[in-house]
């Protein structure tokens, strides 16, 4: 049973339509990758799912509840956590404050919030050392950890990650992917947008390839990794090449 069901999703900016009817599903306990070249519409898809862009057509359903027209902060409350592109930390705030804001919706349960924050520090020990440091002064990898930890405080049902590997050293990317795999194994649904096709297909269970606002190919990650069409489409240009 899929947690997230997207059917015929259409999104646009001004007069230009960017997504021309996207279908995709994500089930608990699986990592679904959304691949495609720059400008294909990956980020727009994620922003539409989390309510940051208005949906022009089609439907988005999370755990049986329609997300169409639901405001972004309500969608977060429904269990969708979105780690945006370029991390978007509150850089003049401390690491601790960033995590506390991640738990904004459970702010009335002080003890529970504190417990969950400690869980995050256990998951990312480097952040525990930097609790009181301003988020903007962290290294890129540490910032990504804050961004993910901040999204996990609410224990979401669906974790949406937008290019978590951007600008990071391979070793750090591997450790972040390791954590994503662990979350999947614990039963979380993960939707992952990446540039890094091959490595992403290695950790994903299924994948969709987006081109110019439409889904071009989808299937099991293991199959797509060997599919020459994916190479062509992901790297851009004519799919037939």
């Amino acid at each position: 049973m899929s947690l997230l069901v997207v059917e015929g999703l259409r999104v646009g900016y001004g007069k230009v339509e960017v997504l021309h009817g996207i279908d995709l599903t994500v089930a608990p306990g699986e990592i679904v990758a959304l691949l495609g070249s720059n400008g294909a519409g990956k980020t727009t898809t994620l922003r539409a799912l989390s309510g940051l862009e208005p949906v022009r057509g089609g439907k988005v359903v999370l755990g049986g509840e329609s997300l169409n027209g639901v405001k972004a902060h309500r969608i977060t409350a429904l269990g969708l956590a979105h780690v945006p592109e370029r991390r978007r930390l509150f850089s003049p705030l401390t690491v601790e404050e960033n995590l506390r804001l991640g738990g904004y919706l459970i702010r009335d349960q002080a003890a529970e919030l504190k417990r969950r924050m400690e869980t995050m520090y256990a998951l990312f020990p480097r952040l525990a050392e930097r609790r009181l440091q301003l988020a903007g002064t962290l290294s890129g990898g540490e910032q990504q950890m804050v961004a993910i930890a901040r999204a996990l405080v609410l224990q979401p049902r669906l974790l949406v990650l937008d290019e978590p590997s951007m600008g990071l050293a391979p070793l750090i990317v591997r450790s972040i992917f390791g954590i994503v795999k662990r979350l999947r194994d614990e039963g979380m649904a993960v939707l992952l947008v990446e540039q890094n096709a091959r490595q992403t297909l290695r950790i994903a269970d299924r994948a969709y390839v987006l081109e110019s606002g439409s889904i071009l190919i989808h299937g099991a990650a293991a199959d797509l990794a060997l599919d020459p069409r994916v190479q062509a489409a992901y790297l851009g240009g004519a799919a037939a090449a």
């Binding site: 902060h73 705030l93 506390r100 919706l105």
Partner: protein
């Protein structure tokens, strides 16, 4: 020396008003990037609401301490509510429209508040009841009243409370987060609309306190008093770096001192010229104000 001390205390007193009002400008700007031109008139409305309550309570022979406390609290609540209503109906629909449209709307709100008060209270001065004595003490040759000391301490206490609110509460942290990145704040589950309304409420309530203090200090209030005070407070907010809360506090006190010393040592006729010259000079040297941070535009 005695003159200096006298001017210092006077400057800190008026600076306290400016700082409290500047906080409203700066908090609103930090969160919705709007220069709320009606904020000076919010201060004026606060002074009138405080006057209404205080006059009523004084007529009932209530002990002045309780009357004053009630007047301040009621003025804060009512003025804060007016601020929220203005945001909801006049600004919110225009937050994504061209910037100038919302600026004109703010000017319209300013005009509406002034003329609304004019219609209700009339064009003359209203006199605050003499609840607080004019007594004081002499120190170093300077005559300092208890009212001045009270105003300075109350303002500092309010500023400290605001600092704690912004840094220690969830709502305050959400405000700072919103100022940095609105979309990211939404993703945290923060109800952006509510935070914006809270900001307007807090800013307006602080202006109301300043309004009541002004009434107590100068004893007379008028429907156009918001213009010049609002202008000075706005200047203070920009001087400190608009959007920056400690900057607004410091800016307010600096403007108050500048005003007092220029009136004392030059002439009050030139106060505004000096204040604006300092502002423009500061901005030329430091374009984002004394405490402001450089905003880097990403391309």
């Amino acid at each position: 020396m005695s003159e200096f001390l006298q001017l210092l205390v006077a400057g800190l007193t008026t600076g306290s008003f400016y700082a409290l009002i500047a906080l409203g400008y700066t908090m609103v700007y930090g969160i919705v990037r709007l220069i709320n031109f009606a904020h000076g008139d919010i201060f004026m409305v606060g002074a009138f609401l405080g006057w209404t309550v205080l006059s009523a309570l004084a007529a009932m022979h209530m002990p002045w301490g309780i009357a004053l406390l009630l007047a301040v609290l009621l003025a804060m609540a009512l003025t804060g509510g007016i601020g929220v209503v203005i945001e909801r109906f006049a600004y919110q629909p225009l937050l994504s429209a061209p910037r100038l449209s919302i600026l004109i709307t703010a000017l319209g709100v300013s005009l509406a508040l002034e003329n609304g008060v004019l219609l209700i209270y009339g064009p003359g001065f209203e006199t605050y009841p003499h609840l607080v004595s004019t007594a004081g003490f002499v120190i170093g040759g300077a005559q300092i009243s208890y009212v001045q000391i009270g105003i300075i301490f109350c303002s500092l206490a309010l500023m400290a409370a605001l600092y704690l609110f912004v840094h220690r509460t969830f709502m305050g942290t959400a405000m700072r987060a919103l100022a940095v990145d609105r979309d990211a704040a939404r993703l945290m589950g923060i109800d952006v609309e509510r935070v914006i309304q809270t900001t307007f409420f807090v800013g307006s309530a602080l202006a109301a306190v300043a309004g009541v203090m002004e009434g107590l200090y100068y004893t007379e209030i008028n429907f156009f008093m918001g213009f010049i005070v609002g202008l000075r407070a706005f200047t203070a907010a920009v001087l400190g770096g608009i959007g920056n809360i400690p900057g607004a506090m410091a800016g307010g006190l600096i403007i108050g001192l500048l005003e007092a010393f220029s009136a004392g040592y030059v002439s009050s006729r030139w106060t505004d010229v000096i204040v604006f010259a300092v502002l423009i000079g500061t901005l030329v040297i430091k374009p984002t104000g004394l405490f402001g941070e450089r905003v880097v535009e990403r391309m």
